[in-house]
């Protein structure tokens, strides 16, 4: 333990020193993403699905469609539910059991990006106002954790939603009957999350696990298709300056544009 601690301190200094020079341990520039691969439709039994590889980070998102009751204050809208499971298969740090704060934060940040950008036209998911609506279950399943779960999960969620089909149905005597065939889930926006780690006063985009282990804090901005910010989340017990944040916002906005193309066209 002592040994691994000091190794980590040496690596920490090494990582910070490199970053101070504008370099990274894996050879990337400070604003470079790792290689991104997006595969849609990998789980045929789910109504929608996608797997995203962000370097060695691997996230699978499955979308299931159910029918249930709307929230009482939104009787004409379908329901979006985002969950995440950090299954212990994905990392020696993850444990079985009810979701911890990290898992809940991940799901809620991805949820906010989808919800606040209006990505799903929830009003089109109303079946019988106040009684029956479609429920969209977005389940984030992390398969291998090598850092930056938020961006990978947000991409996988968007890709899975773009790939989601909705049952045809008719309402007979107040009961919903499923009919053959499908339509597409009505998607009207494409939120993309961009995350940086703050290390030694510099922001590095798309941190991998070793960078996350030494970062002071983390900042995520989610951009909708017109370049507006739709969600922000700072994480970690460090600080940022207002100027850092505002500068980052401009850089991230462009980055999001690139990633969005990749996800939508995959």
């Amino acid at each position: 333990m002592t040994f691994s601690l000091s190794v980590s301190r040496i690596k920490q200094r090494q990582i910070a020193k490199l970053i101070a020079d504008g370099k990274r341990l894996d050879g990337r520039g400070l604003t470079d993403y790792r290689e991104i691969k997006v595969e849609k439709g990998v789980i045929e039994r789910a109504e929608g699905s996608a797997r995203v590889y962000l370097g060695r980070t691997q996230v699978l998102v499955g979308v299931k469609i159910g029918i249930g009751e709307p929230f009482s204050d939104r009787p004409n809208e379908g329901v979006l539910t985002v969950n995440s499971e950090l299954v212990p298969l994905a990392s020696p740090e993850f444990e079985a059991g009810p979701p911890g704060e990290e898992s809940i934060e991940l799901a809620r940040v991805v949820d906010r990006g989808i919800r606040e950008s209006g990505a799903i036209d929830l009003e089109k998911l109303c079946i019988i106002p106040g009684k029956k609506v479609f429920i969209v279950f977005v389940d984030i399943y992390v398969l291998n954790h090598d850092g930056n779960l938020i961006d990978a999960s947000a991409m996988a969620a968007l890709a899975a939603l773009l790939n989601t089909k909705l049952f045809n149905y008719e309402v007979v005597d107040g009961e919903v009957k499923i009919k053959p065939g499908f339509t597409k889930l009505p998607i009207r926006n494409y939120p993309i999350a961009i995350t940086s780690a703050e290390i030694g006063g510099k922001l590095v985009v798309d941190p991998w696990l070793e960078e996350e282990e030494v970062m002071n804090s983390r900042i995520t901005l989610i951009f909708e298709k017109d370049g507006r910010i739709c969600a922000i989340q700072k994480g970690g017990g460090g600080t940022l300056t207002k100027d850092q944040i505002i500068e980052a916002a401009h850089i991230f906005q462009k980055k999001a544009e690139e990633l969005r193309k990749l996800v939508v066209e995959s």
Binding site: R108, E116, I229, I232, G237, T241, I245, I246, H250
Partner: protein
């Protein structure tokens, strides 16, 4: 059970639903040292928010294996009373409460000299007795005072305030209705004397320009509340001084 919701959030004379100007804070009342059992405590009313914070520690860590060799373990629990909101809230912690406990802890952590108390724990409890929008920010503001009241050495007080967008206007310190019906909410926490942002979140839609405007307004609000924090601390110490001198 159902609040009546207004049609417009800002009227023609730029007044908000509670009569405030866009850059105006809600009335704030702060008291330090309100509970006898806690090592430190404080109470805040901000608009209709009523929030109590208590700090226990530095103290022994249970279970033992959670203790850290090089610094104190900081724990934080943001919790809403069942009667604090419109519909009774179940006492079990919601996903929202778990997330807020995390970001509040991370917002306070940079201020505390944790490395001075290795192998101990510092527990922060924030109880929302009545909620009216902006509870995480007011919770940070009051928890920071409870830490100070407990004598925990800090780099600076942490103070938080939200800005947001309501009916197209950037406004300060959103209340419940503005939060629910508005276009964006941007809670920010800072250590004012260190020029350091310790919490930043956002929901809604903002252009980069609006974002810059909002973050500036929020930080300005923080600085105004920072003065009230310091006055409340002073009031406590004056009271103690008087007590001692009596």
């Amino acid at each position: 059970m159902n609040q009546e919701l207004p049609e417009r959030l800002i009227d023609e004379s730029m007044r908000r639903v509670d009569g405030r100007k866009p850059d105006e804070l809600r009335p704030i009342k702060i008291e330090v040292g309100v509970l006898s059992n806690a090592d430190g405590s404080a109470y805040i009313e901000q608009g209709r928010n009523k929030i109590l914070a208590a700090v226990y520690g530095p103290k022994e860590v249970h279970p033992r294996h959670l203790s850290l060799p090089d610094r104190a373990l900081l724990r934080c629990r943001y919790h809403m009373a069942p009667f604090s909101v419109e519909e009774r809230k179940s006492p079990a912690p919601s996903r929202r409460e778990i997330e807020l406990s995390k970001v509040i802890r991370e917002a306070l952590e940079p201020a505390i000299f944790l490395e001075r108390y290795p192998r101990t724990a510092i527990d922060i409890f924030i109880e929302i007795l009545q909620a009216d929008g902006g509870t995480r920010c007011a919770g940070i503001t009051v928890a920071s005072l409870a830490l100070a009241d407990a004598g925990i050495p800090m780099r600076d007080l942490v103070v938080a305030c939200a800005a947001g967008k309501v009916d197209g206007t950037i406004v300060l310190d959103l209340n419940d209705v503005e939060d629910k019906l508005g276009e964006a909410d941007l809670p920010v926490a800072v250590m004012p004397s260190l020029n350091a942002v310790t919490l930043l979140q956002m929901d809604g839609l903002l252009t980069l320009e609006e974002f810059e405007q909002a973050i500036n307004l929020a930080i300005d609000g923080c600085k105004r509340i920072y003065k009230l924090q310091k006055e409340a601390l002073k009031a406590k110490y004056l009271a103690i001084k008087e007590e001692v001198e009596e």
